[in-house]
Symmetry: C2
Subunit: 288 residues, 2 copies
């Protein structure tokens, strides 16, 4: 048994799945949850995700030896501030935020001298569905979780948080918060921005209904991430603007090369670029 | 019975599915096929897609009352030229090419006075799989097929080709070849170009292996179309360069607006754009 009492602040897809996975692994004795949506929290209790429901983050964190913050990142500063006074000396805090430098800055200013108890994490898992209804003990199995430990963390604290995510079936990697944010800008944040931009461009036209009506499976897959949550992506863009602008510039340059190939009617050059992209993607798919 | 003898030139996913769907609908008596890949053609016969195999396009088209050309578009001119002499006066020809102006130009120069017998079509259906092994009688069910009839076509010819695709379960729309190519540039050709460009950009970096290893489901879906066939997409880009450049310019302008919102740290503006894109996509998904 890794933990006696685990508190989950924000019992959605990620928080609910974390609770279910820890329980299934026998890694914790009980899970208490708190969330803004009363109906969702009630459903989480009905589904056996939560053993008890706390009225707020403070009550949930009180007496917990592990707290997972899986709420929208914009609420993190408030949550850190509220739970700081009730965190026991041996309690650990981890999170599921998609960006790490901003989360760590919020923790530093709100947790005060208890900052050493916070081991930041980002589980690279998700699904189109959301809420406790979609939570699954299998969500993190085989998926990546990136830990971005702080200089203040003890080895023992990092190992315990690592053990919690590992118990969920995840593959753990550690890196610097800056490296995390740079990496995610390339493989997640920029693609979301491109998908939002393309759908917005088509949606704004007079004949958008006709255009959408002839869009097929390729367009559906390409734009799936444009159905992501606007507030969450606003916060990610705000937190990671610098790296996102770097990635955007790189993409714009690559697109300019594609444009030049088109303008020069360089069919062989286009085919070469397409073949290289396809080979790289297929290699990735077959190795993952 | 719409047709006695249907010839399928190119017995891949599209050609094979067309044959299976017509047979299932009882719309033709027999299907003869020709293809470059002997093993694939043999498999098509084993699967009951073809009743007989012809050694080449000429032999397949001989005596057919409907010919479907479902080969790569780059081969169309040669196929039109070869089959023209053996096309009976009542035989009809249709195709499955992804672009229409170039296909029609090839038909005009190769079919000669038999041009009136060609009714161009583009079934907007496909799958990640290819070849006769992936063919299915259900591939076109509920999917769009765009006919771009020629001024030379008789009403009766267009109706008969319409009936063939309708028998496959497709929803038929007619439009001008130019309108077809403009529409597909927006909802298919540009998205493919963007996906190829993004994967190529990431694949070219020193740390590409690390980047790919942290890419998740969103990236996989977004880049799925970058695993499309390089030759096919070279030909599409060559045939539709003008409309593709128009679409690329529109996208670049939209992306410049997104860049401006990022640079100005306009979180509300980004959220508004994301919310509008999401709403438009969700409306489309729920209506399709």
């Amino acid at each position: 048994m890794l933990f006696e009492r685990v508190a989950v602040i924000g019992v959605g897809l990620i928080g609910g799945s974390f609770a279910l996975a820890l329980k299934q692994a026998g890694a914790c004795a009980q899970v208490v949850g708190a969330g803004r949506n009363a109906e969702n929290v009630r459903l989480a209790q009905e589904r056996g995700i939560l053993d008890s429901v706390a009225p707020d983050a403070v009550a949930a964190a009180h007496g917990a030896d592990l707290v997972l913050i899986a709420a929208p990142v914009a609420q993190f500063a408030k949550i850190f501030r509220e739970i700081a006074p009730v965190l026991g000396p041996k309690a650990l805090v981890t999170d599921a935020g998609s960006t790490k430098r901003d989360v760590i800055a919020a923790a530093r200013s709100s947790l005060g001298r208890k900052i050493a108890q916070f081991v930041p994490a980002h589980p690279i898992a998700g699904a189109e569905k959301s809420g406790a209804a979609a939570a699954s003990a299998e969500l993190f199995r085989g998926k990546r979780v990136i830990l971005t430990p702080l200089a203040e963390n003890t080895d023992s604290s990092v190992r315990k948080v690592d053990a919690a995510w590992s118990a969920c079936g995840a593959r753990i990697t550690r890196m610097e918060p800056e490296a995390h944010d740079a990496l995610l800008a390339a493989v997640s944040h920029l693609p979301h921005l491109l998908a939002f931009a393309l759908v917005h461009e088509i949606a704004g036209r007079e004949n958008s209904a006709e255009l959408f009506s002839f869009a097929a499976g390729g367009f559906r897959d390409f734009t799936r991430i444009a159905s992501s949550h606007p507030e969450m992506w606003r916060d990610i863009c705000s937190a990671n603007t610098d790296h996102l602008l770097i990635e955007l510039s790189r993409f714009e340059k690559r697109l300019a090369k594609v444009r030049a190939l088109l303008e020069q009617r360089d069919a062989a050059g286009l085919e070469k670029l397409f073949a290289e992209a396809r080979a790289a993607r297929d290699k990735w798919i077959h190795s993952s």
